[in-house]
Symmetry: C2
């Protein structure tokens, strides 16, 4: 490893001169500056950030903590963050929590030791007390989810409105009995989504059939849609409230041979590769993940990490709104589904 000392020795000058020349200090003569910078290039000098950090400067590491990078939600976030941070010469670290508080804590410990500059996290349901304490010592923002113990800065999506818009779309198509499949966790955003669904129904005095459960069980969603379709008076449309559920229900509907949108209109959640070509094309809630992430990344960089400690700890919440992507899986309600079936046959 080449150090400033090596450069100094080679040019017969002092280390401090080298340091100043490398940072283009105006006190150093232009000539010396050039000589130093050239020598640095020739020797392949790279500044040792460990040493610089020891002197108090911040690291250029920003951590992103997500449940599982394989979900479209999260890899889209990671991509947007990577681009955003790269532009400012920051390095992105990636931690997967698997939604487990212990893994979250383990990562935070590791990150704290590495003097991370900041953390962007999708928190687990119930973070450990130590996680909370560790986060207090590093600038951070919550993304997508929001846990009260983790400080007031967060970027999220208005899920209530997203689901409400989706439901309204079905109502405007004439549907008056709509199914809903959603998750059960108390905290976070699941309740928001359900509330959006209920709000829309109420506005039209329509009927809802809710299936609430544990979508992390791979078979649960399939069973939920079967339940809905088995009712004597079954819903003519269904709203799915997470990407995971959408995946599982789409697969189940193919197996069941349900005709979409003739027998059932379907609105999914999120837009993954494949949703476009599922059956007649899936009408779905398009989440503004990329924009949200970029906004979040920039905000962390500019409001929380800038040298001047003017950065306030004031609560800050940004809620993005999503848009409905209308494709073929939703249609006007016909009086009799059977009639519709005949017509297309």
């Amino acid at each position: 490893m080449v150090t400033t000392k090596d450069i100094a020795k080679q040019l017969n000058i002092a280390v401090s001169t080298v340091g100043r020349a490398l940072s283009d200090d105006s006190r150093i003569s232009v000539e010396t500056r050039q000589r130093v910078q050239e020598a640095a290039r020739n020797l392949g000098y790279v500044t040792n950030r460990a040493a610089r950090m020891l002197r108090g400067s911040k690291s250029n590491l920003v951590a992103l903590m997500v449940p599982d990078i394989r979900h479209s939600f999260y890899y889209k976030i990671a991509h947007a963050m990577a681009e955003c941070l790269e532009r400012e010469n920051f390095i992105l670290t990636l931690s997967e929590t698997g939604d487990r508080p212990e893994r979250e804590l383990q990562h935070l410990r590791e990150l704290a030791g590495s003097q991370i500059a900041g953390v962007i996290l999708i928190p687990t349901m119930r973070p450990h007390a130590e996680s909370v304490r560790l986060l207090k010592s590093m600038p951070h923002v919550q993304l997508i989810r929001r846990h009260p113990a983790l400080g007031g800065q967060s970027f999220g999506i208005d899920f209530a409105r997203a689901v409400e818009d989706a439901t309204r779309h079905l109502l405007q198509l004439g549907h008056r009995h709509i199914g809903y499949i959603g998750a059960h966790d108390q905290l976070f955003t699941s309740m928001d989504r359900l509330n959006g669904f209920r709000a829309a129904l109420q506005a039209f005095s329509a009927k809802g059939s809710e299936q609430i459960g544990e979508p992390s069980d791979p078979d649960w969603s399939a069973e939920a849609i079967r339940q809905l379709l088995r009712q004597r008076s079954r819903p003519t449309a269904v709203v799915l409230s997470s990407v995971r559920i959408t995946h599982d229900v789409l697969r189940a509907l193919r197996t069941l041979g349900t005709s979409v949108p003739d027998d059932l209109s379907v609105i999914g959640f999120g837009d993954e590769p494949g949703f476009e070509w599922w059956g007649p094309g899936l009408t779905t809630v398009d989440l503004p993940v990329a924009d949200l992430s970029t906004a979040c990344g920039l905000w962390l960089l500019h409001h929380r990490l800038k040298q001047d400690d003017s950065a306030s700890d004031a609560a800050f919440t940004n809620l993005s709104t999503s848009t409905l992507l209308v494709r073929g899986s939703t249609a006007e309600m016909r009086k009799s589904p059977a009639a519709a079936r005949k017509k297309t046959a």
Copy 2:
């Protein structure tokens, strides 16, 4: 930030004693060790890795460099790496190159300065000379692709065999005229795949129609499949040779209304969510990405990063084999495609 000095002051002992106690040095009495460790816990001490690194120890950062984390190929890799590194208390950094040498270089500069412990990279087509030099100073492995200038350690997939197996499957179903859609870049693995295709055809003395081009253009693949289907004597099956191409062709086939597998048997590349429910279910080459990545990560950790510098620079190449996932998009060749169409109608 709590330091060893703080702990020392609080307990009225020397910093060196604290340091030794924290690393469970046998020379320190059990009692002192416990007192120190308890104090550390109470004060919320975390060891400052910057300082430790300055003393010569390696960082716990391992970098992963991929073209774009949003592709299934790469997020699967990232996931496997994250899990693998986490187990050994390493931190994964994620760099996106967008397949552009300049971005690759920029990231490598940043990583070099941060004293990264090691690099796992999917190299760009033509890495900069400086990238090559930088990589020489850090332990690294190439993954998936393999560029001769970047050292002899690599983990890859036997693409030639993957495509050959896929083609053979079609041949065994009786197809004797098979289309192939593939990429054009000279280096790396594209040629391997094409060779696999040709080898299989030759074994059966069958006819091939190759469309070779630039799949990064979103419309190119669609045009390629149209070309194949427009020929007077058109192929009865087609082999797709990248994930990207598979996505684009599947979309195009839907638009064209081609009946699969009656009019055309199709074999895709990679297995993404959605391939399973595309049309009759896509027969595809299932790439052993997760296993490969885990193997690669473990290898870097254990062969290249261990303190003892016994780590050899010997060339090492691991080629994994993939398996064919047979679903509904491939069928036995009928004499007349039209007859098949009638039968199902």
